[in-house]
């Protein structure tokens, strides 16, 4: 027996586990007599950004903690990348943990390590054969990929601002080039410019690295800007999953008041404005844009 941990082999392309990296069936979570989830079902498709919304206390974070195995559910089945999580023990789910990355709400950086050393922790843990030189290089470029300045590499978390901590947490979440990324309120506590920048960063990383993203948020701008589909948690289960227009077509009172409240309308208006300007810019730069497309081809 070797103590070395091996990474799970990716599921065959086109299989069930490949198309739906996260499947939740009949999940039940309860704290004492207080039931959080009852008979909750959810499928996350490969390569999408799924936004999860719901009122405070409806169990968004508990759902994420159940999926990543931090919270043992009372009943139900959870399958992540083809492996069941519900019955997972500490030693046999290790192979799945190298294929996901998690950004906790406060960043959850190790306070006694620098940003780069934080990024190196999962690399050391799973791939001890990687040389120090390559590991340092990986940590350095991941720091830049996450949108941090180079000076932040050797800083301690206590020397970073809130937004930089989130980026550092994202760098650590991306350390192993995961397929799945879990984000718990990534833009909470950021200023609007910082939040918009973070949204764009997630979008571009998702496209470049081909990630599947499970994103908990309260930020309507994030939902409109980057989420492919949105799952709504209410009444202890997922009451609807779909694109925002699809959700708007349903007549559940909570969804209606969520998207049609003053903040929802403002976010919708600003996202439409941006699309209009983008369309106009495209129209103006028509021939040029076509030209570059042709060159690219």
């Amino acid at each position: 027996m070797t103590a070395e941990t091996t990474c799970a082999v990716p599921a065959p392309i086109g299989s069930e586990a490949d198309l739906f990296p996260i499947r939740v069936r009949g999940l039940r979570n309860a704290f004492g007599t207080h039931v959080i989830h009852e008979n909750l079902d959810l499928d996350v498709r490969k390569g999408e950004i799924l936004g999860v919304v719901g009122g405070s206390g409806t169990g968004k974070s508990v759902l994420m903690r159940s999926i990543i195995g931090l919270q043992i559910p009372e009943a139900g089945e959870i399958e992540v990348l083809g492996s069941p999580i519900t019955d997972a023990r500490d030693d046999d789910d290790i192979d799945i943990r190298c294929r996901w990355g998690i950004l906790f709400q406060g960043g959850a950086l190790f306070s006694t390590l620098t940003v780069a050393e934080n990024v190196e922790v999962p690399l050391r843990e799973f791939y001890p054969e990687i040389t120090d030189e390559l590991r340092h290089e990986i940590a350095r470029y991941k720091v830049l990929l996450s949108g941090l300045p180079a000076e932040a590499t050797s800083k301690y978390p206590s020397e970073l601002s809130g937004g930089m901590k989130k980026r550092a947490g994202l760098a650590r979440a991306l350390a192993l080039d995961p397929e799945l990324l879990f984000l718990d309120e990534p833009t909470a506590g950021l200023d609007p410019i910082g939040a918009a920048g973070f949204d764009q960063l997630i979008r571009s990383l998702q496209q470049t690295l081909g990630l599947t993203v499970f994103l908990i948020t309260h930020d309507l701008d994030t939902l409109y800007e980057i989420c492919d589909r949105v799952a709504v948690i209410a009444d202890k289960r997922v009451i609807a999953v779909g694109t925002i227009p699809e959700l708007l077509a349903t007549d559940h009172p909570w969804i209606k008041s969520y998207f049609n409240g003053p903040r929802g309308r403002a976010a919708l208006a600003s996202s439409q404005r941006r699309e209009d300007t983008a369309a106009m810019a495209d129209a103006n730069a028509g021939p040029g844009a076509l030209g570059t497309a042709a060159e690219g081809a």
């Binding site: 082999v9 620098t114 780069a116 040389t131 350095r140």
Partner: protein, 371 residues
């Protein structure tokens, strides 16, 4: 089964050598290959990715670094590889150190000594400042007694006093046994075993009862004070109290100080009593001194001023233990690690000061004729 990454070199089109990377170029497969790639000598005219299977950013980084190192172009890259290499090449100018900046050893040692010494000086000033705050807050409480938090005081008295009865009792009982047993062995040589009663009674009441209780309270409650206040500082609870107009010294520190100062003499006497019972129990079993004779004899041989010495030292030791706990807790500024070091600091400072003061008291009381 997953393939392994490897490389081969083959003669290229224009006479140069082409480096061909094969297999999956992933973080999981490249670790073993990396040092071989680094040992590679040039010249290389091209890096060929056409025979690689899958690629992630670590693979892209490796290809990009090789291409920069040999000045060779990357050929045969899939669209996915091109996309990743594009992203990596925009993020390759980070030359910052991974570790925090450190001075060389020869400079670090004197620097550390300097930091410790200036820290000592600042520490004395800070402790004096803290004591000043406590005095001011006590004055304010005397003028406005209604602001005093009786419930917090009682709660702390329960936590640090009542809840400590079991462990202090057990410890004192065992120490009483040890003193009686060791004392008897020595005194037997003079045929003076009966003086075991004097030894156990006077030592317990005068010294050990209070001193050991102080050490136990420092470990139990001084550390708890430091950790509680330190965590409250980190979570900004103390700042919130200040902005609401509640003085943290009044609300948090004074109840803890008072509770410790009230409970310490009580615990000290309790500890001494249990210690004497321990000694009496051992004497009854092995020395042939009946249990109640031992207790009656205590009244005759222990002068009353020994009880006073113990009772006077109690509140002073309590003040030291609670002050160092609260003071260190409130010094926490940055992170979880500091809560740990401050808690350690609180216990070490409290025990050290208690022992120093105990020596001082021993000399003082014998000089004033309470020997």
């Amino acid at each position: 089964m997953r393939g392994t990454a490897d490389f081969i070199t083959e003669p290229g089109a224009e006479g140069g050598v082409t480096l061909v990377l094969t297999g999956p170029l992933l973080v999981s497969s490249l670790g073993r290959l990396d040092h071989r790639l680094r040992a590679l000598d040039g010249p290389v005219s091209a890096i060929d990715l056409s025979r690689s299977e899958r690629i992630d950013t670590v693979g892209a980084w490796t290809a990009w670094r090789l291409s920069q190192h040999f000045g060779a172009p990357i050929i045969g890259a899939s669209p996915e590889a091109e996309r990743l290499i594009g992203a990596i090449s925009a993020a390759d100018d980070n030359t910052a150190s991974v570790e925090p900046p450190r001075l060389p050893l020869l400079l670090r040692v004197p620097e550390h000594v300097g930091i410790v010494i200036t820290g000592l000086g600042q520490g004395i000033v800070l402790v004096l400042g803290f004591l000043g705050q406590v005095v001011l807050a006590s004055g304010a409480l005397l003028r406005h007694p209604s602001r005093f938090r009786v419930r917090a005081l009682v709660h702390q008295m329960e936590l640090m006093g009542v809840n400590a009865l079991a462990i202090i009792g057990l410890m004192s009982f065992l120490v009483g046994i040890v003193i009686a047993q060791q004392g008897a062995v020595q005194l037997r040589q003079f045929g003076a075993e009966i003086y075991t009663v004097n030894l156990v009674g006077r030592l317990s009441l005068r010294e050990l009862g209070t001193l050991m209780t102080a050490i136990m309270v420092a470990g139990r409650s001084g550390s708890a004070f430091a950790a509680q206040l330190g965590t409250m500082k980190l979570t900004e609870e103390i700042d919130a109290m200040r902005t609401i107009g509640v003085s943290p010294i009044e609300a948090l520190v004074i109840p803890r100080l008072l509770a410790t100062m009230i409970m310490m003499p009580l615990l000290g006497i309790y500890s001494a009593a249990i210690g004497i019972i321990g000694g009496a129990a051992l004497s009854a079993l092995t020395l042939g001194i009946p249990f109640f004779t031992f207790l009656a004899r205590i009244q005759e041989v222990v002068p009353l001023h020994d009880v006073w010495v113990g009772l006077i030292k109690g509140p002073v030791f309590g003040l030291i233990v609670a002050t160092s706990g609260c003071f260190q807790g409130l010094q926490v500024k940055s992170d979880a690690e500091e809560v740990g070091t401050r808690t350690t600091g609180a216990v070490v400072m409290a025990i050290f000061m208690v022992i120093v003061l105990d020596a001082f008291f021993a000399v003082f009381f014998s000089e004033v004729g309470w020997g």
